[in-house]
């Protein structure tokens, strides 16, 4: 098989498997997997900026929350129906990520990390400050009646699973398409050696700007979908923790691999889920696993797989 065919077979196979699992899984894991797919879409968005472009952002919760609140506040206060509300969330993410990119891309390295962290923190505090509309930490519930898209009730588990799968498939395929195009290759080149890429005549600033907007917009779409599918928007989704989560998922799964974000999210979700069943000290186990992974699998799970077995993985 050619590399292209192998890649298509693998990623298509994963999506088909996820589709089939819908009919097999018991209710509990079924719900989990829907959640994981939405969060994995967030990680896929994060991976475009971090894994492929090499820019470590600590402020992606800002984009996730922009999507969530763009959608949620639209439904709650402007009486939008679901489709325009989703669009509002995605647009909010695009606008916010463009604005932050214009500022933050003037810096690089550790300064970039801290700038994104600071603006995301300011965004989180803003959500708290306008508690009158956002209800702050407590958040607000999006009623079942408000979650019907074209006659499909998104609070129903089956519909929710399919909606999550569609979102995940779209972001996965978008990411796959992107990294196999010249644009994606240029991003990887920027990650490896920005000076050299600039010397070759590429406008690296424009590429990084676009990568950040695409990444932020996908994250916002995931945020909007999360709020809609699980019927809740709260300030905790804007907090630092939600900026660190996608970093962990991507690193676990393998930064700069298309499937890595999903594998990392799945792994981390079940790690915490299973260990909280055994002991209350699940954070301890999560911490130990993180340390062990950085020690023994620094490229992440898929990254190690690429190094050892399948060198063709995108």
């Amino acid at each position: 098989m050619s590399t292209g065919a192998k890649v298509m077979a693998l990623h298509g196979g994963v999506l088909v498997l996820l589709f089939v699992l819908q009919f097999i899984l018991p209710a509990y894991h079924h719900g989990n997997l829907a959640r994981i797919m939405v969060l994995a879409s967030y990680a896929v968005g994060y991976n475009i900026l971090f894994g492929y472009t090499g820019l470590l952002s600590l402020g992606h919760a800002l984009f996730f929350a922009a999507g969530m609140y763009g959608m949620g506040l639209g439904i709650q206060h402007l009486d939008l129906s679901v489709a325009p509300a989703l669009l509002a969330g995605v647009l909010a993410g695009a606008v916010v990520s463009t604005a932050l990119a214009l500022l933050a891309l003037r810096t690089s390295g550790v300064a970039f990390m801290i700038v994104t962290l600071m603006f995301a923190q300011a965004g989180y505090l803003t959500v708290l400050y306008f508690g009158e509309f956002t209800r702050g930490d407590e958040g607000f519930v999006i009623q079942q009646a408000q979650r019907v898209l074209w006659g499909i009730d998104l609070s129903d588990p089956t519909n929710r699973y399919f909606a999550a799968l569609i979102l995940f498939a779209l972001s996965l395929l978008a990411s796959l398409w992107l990294v196999r195009r010249p644009f994606g290759k240029t991003l990887v080149a920027i990650r490896e050696n920005e000076e050299r890429v600039r010397m070759l005549g590429y406008d690296t600033y424009k590429h990084k700007l676009m990568a950040m907007v695409i990444s932020g917009t996908i994250s916002a779409a995931a945020g909007a979908a999360y709020g809609l599918l699980f019927g809740y928007a709260g300030a905790s989704f804007a907090s630092v923790q939600y900026s660190i989560f996608p970093l962990l998922w991507v690193l676990l799964g393998g930064a700069g691999t298309v499937l890595g974000p999903f594998v990392g999210t799945l792994f981390m979700f079940y790690l915490i889920d299973l260990s909280s069943g055994i002991t209350t000290a699940y954070m301890l186990i999560a911490g130990v696993v993180l340390v062990l992974l950085t020690l023994f699998a620094p490229q992440g799970l898929i990254g190690e797989l690429r190094n050892r077995l399948w060198r063709w993985l995108p």
Partner: protein, 308 residues
């Protein structure tokens, strides 16, 4: 109370915050400056210092000064030793790669926090101050017949708070002398300037790294022991010092010790004063935006050099 006494009170409280913050941030700055790694678990070393201080003071009993004095020496040493062990078992093995270190220290953060919860519990507990006499402060007001001295209610501080400020200044001077005037400091600065060259000249870079990491953690622990009679020890208390130290280190210029101290004083004082005028949330929004914008438009910090 009028505005004047308010401001004095706010600056006094701010000075205590600034003193503790300066110690914590200098620890973070040392680690970042010499080792070029970001230690996310720094706040947890701070928390460990406070928790260990409580354990020591609690088990010794007797006069509060005895327990406190022992804690002041022992807690930073213990935390420093833990940090050295973490450096040698984890950080050394990921080769001090910046990104992997961040993930490893996030893992470390979870581990330390959870262990503290399991042994120390979820309660906040105080450590008694060794001495704590109230000092009331006078204020001058123009009344009939010229200026007169009044003693506004609530305007005052305690001897302990003044001692915290004094101790922090002394320790910071000590760190500065260590860096500038001793052989150890010279070796540390050489490692900071050029790791490979230092290695070529026979400096045991790995031992220097372990020592710096331990020292950074010990400074955070020391700051925590100093503050624990004022605030209480709690297993989640590490988050705020971590974020604030980050802000301070950035504003002060990465790896620059005088800049870090200057920024700590600035942030500590303004934190107290701004929150007199604005709602605390708005004050924090303004502060974080300011930090972000400083980094965008003056990335070398207030005291850092261009191009560094």
């Amino acid at each position: 109370m009028e505005l004047g006494p308010y401001l004095i009170l706010a600056s006094l409280e701010g000075a205590v915050t600034a003193a503790v913050l300066a110690l914590t941030a200098v620890g973070l700055s040392l680690v970042f400056g010499v080792m070029r790694v970001v230690n996310i678990a720094h706040g947890e070393f701070f928390m460990l210092g406070a928790v260990i201080a409580w354990f020591i003071a609690h088990s010794l009993g007797g006069h509060p000064a005895v327990g406190f004095a022992v804690a002041l020496v022992a807690a930073p040493l213990i935390v420093g030793a833990i940090a050295v062990a973490a450096d040698m078992t984890i950080l050394k093995r990921v080769d001090y790669d910046p990104e992997r270190t961040i993930v490893a220290t996030i893992g470390l953060l979870y581990i330390i926090q959870q262990l503290a919860l399991m042994t120390y519990g979820p309660d906040a507990r105080p450590v008694e101050a060794p001495f704590n006499t109230r000092i009331a402060l006078p204020w001058f007001e123009r009344g009939e017949g010229g200026w007169q001295m009044i003693w506004p209610w609530g305007l005052g501080t305690t001897t302990y708070k003044l001692a915290v400020i004094g101790a922090a200044v002394a320790v910071l001077l000590g760190v500065w002398l260590l860096m500038k005037r001793t052989r150890i400091g010279l070796v540390m600065r050489a490692t900071q300037a050029d790791r490979d060259m230092a290695l070529a000249f026979g400096i045991p870079v790995e031992r220097v790294y372990a020592m710096v990491f331990g020292m950074g953690a010990a400074l955070a622990a020391l700051a925590a022991v100093l503050i624990v009679p004022i605030q209480q020890a709690h297993y989640l208390m590490g988050a705020d010092p971590l974020l604030l130290s980050f802000i301070v280190v950035i504003i002060g210029g990465l790896g620059s010790l005088p800049g870090t101290v200057l920024a700590a004083v600035l942030i500590g004082l303004s934190d107290g004063i701004i929150s007199v005028f604005f709602s605390p949330t708005l004050a924090k929004i303004l502060a974080t935006l300011l930090v972000g914008l400083v980094l965008v438009f003056r990335p070398e910090g207030l005291a850092g050099k261009r191009g560094a």
